[in-house]
Symmetry: C2
Subunit: 303 residues, 2 copies
Amino acid sequence: MAPVKNGRILFNDIPSGYSEPGKTTIYDESETIDLNNAPLNSSFLIKTLILSINPYLRDKMQDPKDYGFAPHFDMNQPIANFSVGVIVHSENKGVKARDHLYDTFPFQEYFILPGLEDSRILKNKEGLLWSAYVGIAGMPGQTTYTAWREYAQAKKGETAFVTAASGPVGSLVVQFAKTNGMKVITSAGSDEKVAFVKSLRADVVFNYKKTKTADVLAKEGPINVYWDNVGSESFNAALTNTAQRARLVECGYITGYNGEGTPVKNMAVVFGKEITLYGFHVSSFLLKYKDEFYCEIPARVTK
Amino acid sequence: MAPVKNGRILFNDIPSGYSEPGKTTIYDESETIDLNNAPLNSSFLIKTLILSINPYLRDKMQDPKDYGFAPHFDMNQPIANFSVGVIVHSENKGVKARDHLYDTFPFQEYFILPGLEDSRILKNKEGLLWSAYVGIAGMPGQTTYTAWREYAQAKKGETAFVTAASGPVGSLVVQFAKTNGMKVITSAGSDEKVAFVKSLRADVVFNYKKTKTADVLAKEGPINVYWDNVGSESFNAALTNTAQRARLVECGYITGYNGEGTPVKNMAVVFGKEITLYGFHVSSFLLKYKDEFYCEIPARVTK
C-alpha cells in the first residue's frame, strides 16, 4: 500500500488574546506514513480516533518566559492533549491491533508510540461512544469526581453554584451536587446550554450573557460551595454571596487564560467569611482515585 | 466615698476611611459611679486595667447595612474589645475581689458584670505583665497558635512570608515558623519594627514602605506559606511568588478595613499553582485549643 497523508496540527505562533486556528496553530499535511511498513522496533502504531479540545490548552501556548501552569507546547511541533486512539499494528506485547488507548497524544492522524507508559487500554465493555472517554469518562470526569470528593464537603440542604455548567466538568458537578441533596444554581453561555443543564435537574439555571450573575446569587444564595471554572465576574459575584465557611473549588479560570481576567475586588471576605479556596490540578489526584473512577463512572453513564 | 468619674469611649459616628478619635469615637465623662455602694445584685464590679486595640475593630464600625465580619458596635454605646479587668467587689460566688478577668469588655473605667459567662480568671502564676494577656497570651496569640497548627503544614526547609511581622500575631508566626525549620521572610512598616523582627531571628526583614514586597519575594521566594494579615499589594506579590501547593493563611485584611483595598489581579494562579487559601476567625478554634494554649504559651513567654 502506498504511503498516506499524515495530517498534524502544529503549534505555529504564541497567541496574544485568543488563539487563532490557521495562525497560532496550523494544519500540516506535508508528512506521509506507510501504514504497513513503518518501522516499529518493538513499539506500536496508533490511529487517532478522538481528540479533546480543553480550555487549558491555551495555557500551554504561553510564551515560555511567561508563567504557565502546564508545560508549554514546542514551536513547530504537534500540539497534544487527551485522546483516544486505536492500535493499527503492534510489536509490543502489552497491546494488540484493535486495542483502544487513552492518553495524552499528539494531534496527528497516525503516530508510533515506543511504549505504554501511562496509557490506559480502554476495554469499554459498557459500549460508550469513544468520545465519552475524553469527557465524562476521561480527564474532565476525573476532575469532578476527585475534587468534589476532596473538597466540596457537600451537605444536604446547602447551596452550590456551578459555572460553565453545561461542560463535561460542570455538568457532572451539577449531578453530584443534586445527588448530595444540595440546591444547585448554575450558569451557562447560551439558551441551548441552559436547556441541557435544566435537563440535569439543576434548581436555578441562567444564561450569564443575559442575566447578571451577581443578581441571581443575591436572590438565590448565599452559596456554600462554589465550583469555579471561569473566574473573573463570576468569581467576584460568588465571593460577595457566599455563606460563612463556604468552600470555593478553583477548578479553572478560563476568563484568565487569554489575558489577565477581571481583578477581584473583595478578597477581604475570604478572611471575613472564613472561606476556604482550593486550587487544584486533576493530575495530583489521578493515582488516588483512578481505579475507583473507572470502576464507577462508565457503568453509571450507561444507565 | 463620693461617686467617681466613669470615663467611657463611645461609638459616635460611622467612619468613611480611617476612624477618627474625637469624631467617630468620643471620650465621655458624663457618668459617675459610687464604687462602694453600686447595687451588685449577685453580680460583680470590675475596674478596667488593660484595653486592647485591634485592627478588626474598624470592621465593627461599619454601617449596619454594610457587610461586616464581626457584630457592629451600637451607636452612642461604649465600644468593646478584649480586656483585662480586676474585681473591685463581688457578690458572685465564682469570683472574689482582686481576681483578674479576661474577656470582651466595654471601653469603660468601671462596669458591673452580671455573670462570668465566657470570662477567664487569669491566675498569672507566671507573673507576666497583664498586657501580655491581650497580646501573645490572649486573642492574638491564640490566633497564631490555632491557625498555624490547623493550616500552615509547615515543613523544614520551606519558606514562609509573614506580613505585619512585628505585631502580636505576626511576631509569634515568625517564631513558630523558625521553630519549624523554615526560612522566614517578613515585612514591617518602620525601621524600629524591622529591628524588633530581626531580633526574632527572621531570615529576611524589610520595611515595605522603602522596599517593594514583590521585589523581595522574587529574590527570596518562592514561598510555601503566606501568613496574610494585610491583603492588597502584599497579597498580589505573594500570589505571584508562591511555590506549587502553597498554603495562604488569611488571618486579616487590614488594608481592606478602611475601604475596598487593592484589587487582586492574578487570582488565576490559585488554580494554576494548586494553592489553598484558608480564611478563618480565631473564635472558631477557641474551644478546640483553649486549654492547651493557656497551658503552653504563658509558660513559654516567661523563659
